[in-house]
């Protein structure tokens, strides 16, 4: 199918190309150009012919004595004709024999004219010579007459007059070559022949010369005139005109052909244009198709992208859910801690209350009631009783002792209640501290790091005191920062709590926990919590931040994991160092330093 189609296309292409070639070959531009050149050549030929004629006339009236100009136009004409002949003799330019006829006619005319001009040159030159000589020879004769003796002069007067008349009629003949004047000149010549017998020898010679020249004029002048008429009659110019009209006719035909070709070409061009338009439409359609497919692709792409975006958003949501879970877990931890702390304090509250109740139960006040019973048994003889009765005599002393004991007891109760009150205050404190963080979001706020550390310590204070942990504070020069209070506190409480637990088993030395805060390299806030507890074994080092890892029975394995996550959420990181088991551990929180407004 495609092969057939290609073959068809090739055929159409070939057809169009051959039509174009055919039209190019048929185009008459060449013809028109050579027509113009031919017309120009003919014009030049006519010009040269006119120059030639002009030179002939100039020689005729003896204006020019140089015959070169009568030769040179012929050379020029021959050259021009050769060019014209070369153009017009090309086959197909004219109908057969038409051009050949014109050509032969012209050549014949030129040959004839050349012949006549040659004859004219020969004859005109001798004629002009003789005519020019006439006055000289006449002067010569008249001079000789003048030298004659008066008697001879008188006798030959008639001869002199005749000679003069002959001269005049000859010159007239040169101008007006008529039969009458010719007869007159002939008559004069004959009279001269008769007259000269009477002349002296020298004069006779001169007259002979004169009559020879006049005879020549009489002979040559008509011939020269005939030649001139002949030259004029040679139809060189007419033949050139004939050639011109032939050229014009053929040019008109050629122009018609050209016109026709022009129309054909127009039709052909229209066909070509239509084909082009058709192709353009097809191309445009193809473009439309391509555009449509492109659009479809684009749409598919967009849908795909949308889906990817949706998935990404879902992933993000999941992640944030996870984060929330983690945070809730962290909050639970905090709550655990808080409740733990609160529990601890409640413990002491409980102990105090127990103590107070126990003290009240075994209060010495009971002895007072016994003493009052004894008194009441002796309402009448109270004095007696107090002074005489052995029991009664003891009673005042007992009462004194009782008063003392009650005073001590009272004091103890007051102390214990003060402790209780203090514990309750502590709980209040813990709860209020916790409450102050409860609504904290992840927004950044200006923070003083040392205050943050103190808050964290306060939240753990009960436990720390109970476990006899000494907190060593090494706070460096840390400016106010912009930070996430909630996350930082979460991390710190966990770290402090972990340090406390780590040192739970320590008994051989003081339980020291070192808190350090400093700025390193000018752009990082570093907070470290160092304990001197059980340390971290090498093998656990990589796992301690993993979810669910714990070394404690009651642990969730979530604290450090959430701390690490929180650190990462703040673009920081949490690292652990330990020299090994029993050598303590250091946790370092590093955060990019973001200074609060107004800090350097």
């Amino acid at each position: 199918m495609t092969a057939l189609r290609r073959l068809g296309l090739a055929f159409i292409g070939l057809l169009l190309a051959s039509v174009l070639l055919f039209m190019y070959v048929n185009s008459g531009a060449q013809q028109a150009a050579s027509y113009i050149e031919s017309r120009d050549l003919i014009r030049l030929l006519k010009q040269q012919d006119a120059i030639w004629d002009n030179e002939v006339l100039k020689s005729r009236i003896a204006l020019s004595h140089n015959y070169d100009p009568l030769v040179s136009p012929l050379h020029e004409m021959a050259r021009l004709w050769q060019r014209l002949d070369a153009i017009e003799s090309e086959p197909g330019r004219h109908a057969p024999s038409l051009w050949e006829n014109q050509r032969d006619e012209y050549l014949k005319a030129i040959k004839e004219k050349t012949r006549l001009v040659e004859q004219f040159k020969s004859r005109n030159s001798v004629l002009r010579n003789s005519l020019a000589f006439l006055p000289t020879v006449e002067d010569d004769i008249q001079g000789q007459f003048a030298q004659l003796s008066d008697a001879d002069k008188l006798q030959l007067q008639a001869v002199a007059v005749d000679t003069y008349d002959l001269l005049l009629s000859s010159m007239e003949f040169a101008q007006l070559t008529t039969r009458e004047i010719a007869a007159e000149v002939l008559l004069g010549l004959n009279r001269m022949d008769v007259n000269k017998e009477r002349l002296p020898k020298e004069l006779r010679d001169s007259v002979d010369i004169l009559s020879r020249h006049i005879a020549l004029i009489l002979r040559e002048q008509p011939r020269v005139n005939e030649l001139l008429a002949g030259i004029e009659a040679v139809p060189v110019s007419d033949h050139l005109d004939g050639i011109t009209s032939l050229l014009e006719k053929d040019q008109a035909i050629a122009a018609g052909k050209y016109q026709r070709n022009h129309i054909y070409l127009l039709v052909f061009a229209t066909v070509l244009a239509l084909i082009l338009i058709w192709l353009a439409i097809r191309l445009m359609r193809s473009f439309g198709e391509i555009k449509r497919v492109n659009n479809a692709l684009q749409t598919a792409n967009d849908v795909l992208e949308q889906r990817v975006e949706e998935r990404t958003r879902q992933l993000k949501d999941t992640q944030s859910e996870l984060m929330d879970t983690a945070r809730q877990a962290g909050m639970a931890e905090i709550a655990t801690n808080v409740l733990h702390n609160v529990g601890n304090v409640l413990n002491s509250v409980n102990i105090s209350a127990d103590l107070v109740s126990r003290k009240l139960r075994s209060s010495k006040a009971i002895g007072l009631s016994k003493a009052m019973q004894l008194i009441n048994e002796h309402p009448d003889d109270l004095g007696h009783f107090l002074t005489d009765d052995p029991k009664g005599k003891l009673l005042p002393g007992y009462l004194n002792q009782l008063v003392e004991a009650i005073a001590v007891e009272q004091q103890g109760l007051i102390d214990e209640l003060a402790q209780l009150s203090k514990s309750v205050d502590h709980i209040k404190d813990i709860v209020s501290t916790q409450q102050s963080y409860a609504g904290a979001n992840s927004l950044l706020e200006p923070l003083v790091v040392s205050e943050l550390l103190e808050d964290a310590l306060r939240m753990n204070s009960g436990a720390l005191t109970r476990h006899h942990v000494t907190v060593i504070k090494e706070y460096g020069e840390v400016p106010r920062i912009m930070g996430d209070k909630h996350r930082l506190l979460l991390i710190l409480i966990n770290l402090i709590s972990n340090a406390k637990y780590a040192m739970a088993g320590v008994s051989n030395h003081a339980r020291n926990m070192t808190l350090r805060a400093e700025v390193v390299n000018g752009d990082t806030l570093q907070i470290s919590v160092k304990d001197e507890g059980e340390g971290i074994p090498e093998e656990n080092m990589t796992r301690i931040f993993a979810h669910g890892f714990t070394t404690r029975k009651e642990g969730h394995g979530f604290g450090l994991h959430s701390c690490a996550l929180a650190a990462i959420e703040m673009n920081g990181h949490l690292t652990a160092h330990s020299e090994g088991p029993g050598k303590g551990a250091t946790f370092e929180l590093q955060l990019p330093l973001k200074l609060a407004e107004g800090e350097q």
Binding site: S64, H65, N66, Y67, D68, L70, V71, R115, E118, Q119, K121, S122, S125, V126, R128, N129, S130, A132, F133, D205, I209, R212, H213, L216
Partner: protein
């Protein structure tokens, strides 16, 4: 400023004086044109061919055998001899300035130098050869073949041989004759007698036929306008009929091409049959038979002196 103005004025003066001095005279006679610029390779070939006897049937004659450049472009004989040693019918005309003649040969039977070469080569009396044999001889010479290849795309052919010879002959002009210098404005170069001679030449009407650039050679004329020279000379032959032999026209009987008078002092004897051995004799015949006049005393001498000023130069040397 003033000095430059002066200089300009001086320059103008010099210019005027130069042009005044060099102004050509307006005369019926014209000075020679410059030698045409032709392909030197062709001209060189023409020179070799001109001196090559292989053009004649028996390798005896070259063009230069009769047209001797050291003898005015002709020879000093009344009739040159043909290939067979027999004398020819007419006196050899000079090859010098021949390119300026309107026709060639005494009877003007050809128009171009190429045709003239052809006529001489195939003439049964002169070289009696054929182009076939001439081309073969030239084409057998490797030197010629090489040079022809260089000068003509189609190498050795008869038309190319004719063209080379004709081109060479077109360079054979004899410029700088004293009379040409006179025509070009150097009027002091002629002696008063020579100038008188020129005046007589014009007055008597010699100028009627001997005019133009070649001082003749541009028209036909009957030999014997005012008298029958050939009958008076006697022993008429076919050659005496002149142009009649070419055209068959009665009017052309005893009509010949008017010969050029350039270098005429070097080309004795004169006329188509070399019948006038000296210039004086030729002038006398012309007076009598062409002009029909009796020259005044000394006028022949003056005219002859003038004619001698028409001798030009060939290769820088006076002819």
């Amino acid at each position: 400023m003033a000095s430059s103005g002066l200089l300009l004025a001086l320059g103008l003066l010099v210019g005027i004086s130069v042009t005044a001095h060099a102004a050509p005279l307006d005369e019926p006679l014209k000075p020679l044109p410059p030698v045409p610029a032709l392909d030197p390779k062709r001209v060189q070939l023409g020179l070799r061919l001109f001196n090559d006897p292989r053009l004649s049937v028996n390798n005896t004659l070259s063009c230069a055998s009769c047209h001797r450049l050291d003898k005015g472009g002709a020879d000093d004989k009344q009739f040159s001899t043909g290939f067979d040693g027999k004398p020819l019918e007419v006196n050899t005309p000079t090859v010098l300035n021949a390119s300026l003649n309107f026709h060639q040969f005494w009877d003007g039977r050809v128009d171009t130098l190429e045709e003239q070469v052809h006529d001489v080569v195939v003439s049964t009396a002169e070289m009696a050869s054929t182009w076939e044999s001439v081309v073969k001889r030239i084409a057998d010479d490797p030197g010629y073949v090489k040079d022809f290849k260089a000068a003509y795309p189609d190498g050795v052919t008869a038309p190319n041989i004719q063209s080379a010879l004709a081109d060479y002959e077109r360079t054979l002009l004899t410029p700088n004759s004293r009379f040409d210098q006179y025509l070009l404005g150097n009027t002091d170069i002629l002696t008063p007698r020579e100038k008188f001679g020129y005046e007589r030449f014009k007055e008597y009407g010699c100028i009627a036929c001997h005019q133009g650039v070649n001082i003749g050679g541009n028209m036909f004329q009957k030999f014997g306008v005012m008298g029958d020279y050939i009958a008076d000379r006697g022993n008429p032959t076919r050659a005496d009929e002149g142009r009649f032999n070419v055209t068959g026209d009665e009017m052309d009987r005893q009509v010949f091409k008017v010969p050029s008078l350039r270098n005429v002092a070097m080309t004795a004897p004169y006329f188509h049959k070399g019948s006038a051995p000296t210039l004086e004799r030729a002038v006398e015949v012309m007076f009598r038979y062409q002009l029909g006049r009796e020259p005044q005393k000394n006028d022949t001498e003056l005219i002859v002196e003038f004619l001698k000023t028409l001798t030009g130069e060939w290769e820088g040397k006076p002819q």
